[in-house]
Point group: C2
Chain length 627, copies 2
């Protein structure tokens, strides 16, 4: 990538993040000029006071002045709505203990909010200057509820100055996150409420875990003061490595960037700052095929697949087949298992159960070819449309080497027994697509000495802080659903805007083949997690790890993640309402896998720090059909 | 525009309709080649059988063949999902009276629908070959309800051949619309169900009113047979004027075009047909500033404004101010009224009540300037943000000629009385933004001899056939609303996909000033409409006409429409469920305007052909706040 040089020519088109960049302007003499100049410098919007301070306002007098600000006819409503973020006057304090001052400021605030609505500004930005802001929250939440169209950006430093001031004792150190959390709790986590966080000085950075918690919040903008920029050897303005690292963390949240403070650049232009931020969009954005494929799914709720009761579609097969990591590991496992089979077995029998459009069949053929060991290969698939594809591949690609069976693996009666049974029936939580039930059925045609690939899988659970997902779930309710059903349903989600409160722990495990006399696939688990810093528990997130064969594994647990694998996103089990938890608190959860004749479901409840009712009893809102 | 010439060079970029065009292909030898060739000829998609007829299928045998069709791996799922509309085998008849034949065809149909889902085709197309199709409807509706992602295009000729066949008696003539209506009624008007209508031969055109009724249906595609094309003097293939007229009518519904039949073009290429359809996108698409402004609002539900209880926003004012027709007529009316005032009145007093950002103030100043007659001008406005704009205009544009009053016109106490009271408080239904109540209050400061502009306004009502709007309304329900509230709420809509069953009739009227001792703004009306052809009553549509002064009018009633006016869309009052009405039926409706202390509402019911309960009693779902 090379060093940043202000004057460098634009490189050829590459994958990069578009960095939406705004300029904070105290009080432009002419807002049209100001917009033209900042657009020339590359900025996408400005942040300024919509109510011009020239118009002194005392609204509690008998005849208040009637001109509030510059006329709205200076810009088209389209431009007001696209180009101007409105700052509220920072000196207003509706939570003042001086009653008259509070009343005075409330009148002014109401006027400013009204004017922001009048102009249809896309967002307003306000600064919290003290800890408790219930009156401010009360006024703003009322506006949001009565249909205000703007977003509200709460401007805060990442770290409060009391944290590093020599004048403060330990018990006087403020946590900015607490200010924010109190404020947004009053507003019921409204999704129009976001953060505009100030990048701190290098010597006052937040801790790593604090930063992670901020990444789990709805950060809409990062405010970068011009004084943070340093000059490099080309005499260009750049940011320190520590700042770049922070920006990189927020980049995936699609934040916007706001330049604040006086320009140190030539002719007081701000172009140098914009150019550098734009450059970071290329330098820091690491995109590979994986991220490419996941784009657009960020924090998007998907219903878990039900491949037993519904036929998968071409589109789903195609996505699975693109995951090279997964099939490479499968092929390794098959090869190793085949290699270790006793040489007395002349032609080992391998059965792929749930063959889909054939990627595991191909992996078996590859392994056989590599080892130059002949195999007899069965492909069992119940989906008639996938069978049609397999038949075509048998005829045109596989020279008739595969025996196709169009049946459900749980009822198929094979002519012989298998040495190796290969399947890929795992969901995001391991067993949630009923792999245990399917393989328990299919092992009828596995030799007693036979091998199942996978040989085991384990479900993991961790407590989650994600207001974003909480809001996605509560806005996901269809008119014909009950209120319970919205949070009793688990979702598969590519998590981005979240903070994992503690490392995931093992919940339950299944092993195959399972020759027990009575097979019981019900499970019950109880896990305890220690909270590392104050945050909000909104859900639990589920992962799985699987042992395909001996040391060959696949995992979506962050700790052991199979890098580059894209087939599975985590699964999220919600809490009805967010629960504020504190550093040192114990989060204890009970979790069940249960079943009856025709379905399997999960149910769960919190034991600590508060006890909740059991969620999804009897699978009333969500279950997995066995047929 | 000039004559169409196949070889003409592409003209410069102009406003035109993008004509999405598909090619029907019976049975391509290689679907990839076929897609490449048709794309080269300009086509956006193909229509073909997904199940290849090469694979004969009898599914009721013990071991049915396993290959259904060409393999799904020929195309990516993205291409299947974008480029291929699947035709169902037309010979299938699941409504056959021969039980075995019906069972056999049902198995094949189920397989074809399953394969269409498997491929994620965007749409399937099926042809109705006889009148009653309850079994076909039953199978398809089940699929739609269980989450099929495809659209269903029902292929029909616009006019059944029995209509012009010399072999048929009058009582044997089939109405294709009835076939369609029966089919979609079984499917509860599902919005994924659309029409693919065949353009008829010139000698078998539908009547004008039949055509209008088709325009009111969810037509997704027009099928144009190559045999309909004729050659012009340039030896290019073109369509007759009658066909162009039909295409023009459907163009605004965003239909797609499908070319069917053998090519008569050079090298059997279909490019000539595509080129001509593309040319029609320019020739027939009449776009002016008006249509431009309305684009994107087609059939979109808007809540009526409530300017009394909520301040209007810059964006709304700006849209209003763009309507030149309206303000020209207002200025004419003001000028005429001013001209006719007795010359004894030295300086006539004009008051604009509800001045907004000042367009009517400007109109008054213009009239005064044109007549060179001095006036005293008051502008009364309650919205503080609009007042701020007005104040700016008074200072910077109007040289202090206007007295600004920041008050509600219903309570303002003026220092003198007006000769002319000018207002624009009308909604889509005339009185629905409470113009009567406002002007009754404001006339306190009008001289007894004074003039109100507008001097009267009249609401009109007409029965409406629009399944599109019916579906928009029923899918508009928020989780916190009752089922009733969805259809008891009126919406303002730019109607496009609709058929007006009968001409609008006058419902009620208001006149100003109203010097009656007791003013009663409640209204009750009862209207009778005669149905001109079988169709479906889904709602009533409301319009208004207003007399500004003497012969100067504004109207959104289609019969008297003020051409070029864009400020108002019609208002729609729904029925709970569609009602099939027949030619000659009487539609009778009762309609009330009612009020209490703090609100005004409408309620309505149908008297004939069936009686319904009263809809929106007590304004329970929708009302207009007085404060």
């Amino acid at each position: 990538m090379g060093d940043y040089n202000d004057g460098e020519s634009q490189p050829e088109q590459e994958k990069r993040k578009r960095m939406s960049c705004g300029l904070e302007v105290e009080c432009p003499a002419d807002i049209r000029d100001c917009l033209r100049l900042s657009a020339n410098d590359g900025f996408h919007f400005i942040v300024t006071y919509p109510v011009h301070p020239r118009f002194a306002r005392d609204l509690l007098v008998k005849h208040p002045p009637r001109i509030i600000s510059r006329t709205d006819r200076l810009l088209t409503s389209h431009d007001w709505n696209r180009l101007v973020v409105g700052r509220l006057t920072p000196s207003l304090n509706v939570d003042s203990e001086v009653e008259n001052a509070a009343r005075h400021d409330k009148a002014l605030l109401t006027q400013e909010l009204g004017f922001a609505s009048h102009l249809s500004l896309p967002a307003i930005m306000l600064k919290l200057t003290h800890k408790h802001n219930m009156n401010l929250a009360s006024i703003l939440y009322n506006k949001l509820i009565s249909g205000a169209s703007y977003q509200v950006w709460v401007n805060l430093p990442m770290v409060h100055s009391s944290r590093y001031s020599p004048l403060c004792n330990d018990d006087e150190r403020e946590d900015m996150w607490e200010w924010w959390n109190e404020f947004r709790t009053y507003c019921h986590y409204d999704k129009r409420l976001g953060l505009a966080l100030e990048l701190p000085e290098v010597k006052h950075l937040p801790t790593a875990k604090e930063l992670e918690r901020w990444v789990g919040e709805p950060v809409k903008a990062l405010i970068i003061h011009t004084s943070l920029f340093i000059t490099n050897q080309h005499q260009s303005f750049v940011l320190a490595k520590a700042h770049q690292d922070i920006i990189q963390k927020f980049m995936y949240l699609d934040v916007q960037y706001i330049i604040r403070g006086p320009s140190q650049g030539a002719n007081n232009s701000y172009k140098c700052y914009w150019a550098y931020i734009n450059f970071l969009g290329k330098k820091l954005y690491h995109v590979d095929d994986t991220t490419d494929y996941m784009q657009g799914c960020e924090d998007y709720l998907q219903n878990p697949l039900q491949p037993l009761s519904e036929n998968l579609e071409t589109m789903v097969y195609e996505v699975f087949e693109k995951d090279q990591i997964k099939y490479v590991e499968y092929q390794n496992a098959i090869q190793k298992a085949l290699e270790e089979l006793p040489s007395e077995i002349e032609t080992p029998v391998i059965m792929v159960v749930g063959a889909g459009r054939g990627p595991l069949v191909q992996a078996c053929l590859n392994a056989s070819y590599i080892l130059q060991r002949k195999i007899k290969l069965y492909a069992v698939e119940k989906n008639p449309f996938a069978i049609s594809t397999l038949e075509d591949r048998v005829q045109n690609e596989w020279q008739g080497q595969v025996v196709l069976v169009k049946e459900d693996m749980r009822t198929y009666e094979p002519p012989e027994k298998a040495d190796i049974l290969v399947s890929e029936l795992l969901g995001s939580f391991g067993d949630n697509e009923l792999s245990p039930e399917c393989l328990d059925g299919a092992q009828r045609f596995l030799k007693k000495t036979g091998i199942s690939i996978p040989s085991s899988y384990t479900s993991f659970l961790a407590p989650l802080h994600s207001i974003k997902i909480y809001n996605e779930i509560r806005s996901n309710r269809l008119p014909d659903k009950t209120i319970e059903s919205i949070y009793e349903t688990p979702y598969v989600v590519h998590l981005v805007n979240y903070y994992q409160i503690a490392p995931a722990q093992e919940l339950h495990r299944f092993e195959h083949p399972n020759w027990s006399e009575i097979i019981d696939n019900d499970r019950y688990g109880r896990l305890r997690f220690t909270v590392q810093q104050n945050c909000v528990l909104t859900a639990f997130v589920g992962y799985f790890e699987t042992v395909l064969y001996k040391n060959i594994m696949l995992s979506i647990n962050p700790k052991t993640y199979s890098k580059g694998m894209v087939s599975w996103f985590p699964i999220v089990f919600s809490m009805p309402d967010p629960i504020h938890v504190k550093e040192g608190d114990i989060i204890e959860v009970c979790f069940w896998r249960m079943q009856c004749e025709d379905r399997v479901w999960y149910q769960w409840c919190l034991e600590s720090p508060v006890r909740t009712n059991i969620i999804n009893p009897n699978g009333r809102s969500f279950y997995i059909k066995k047929h």
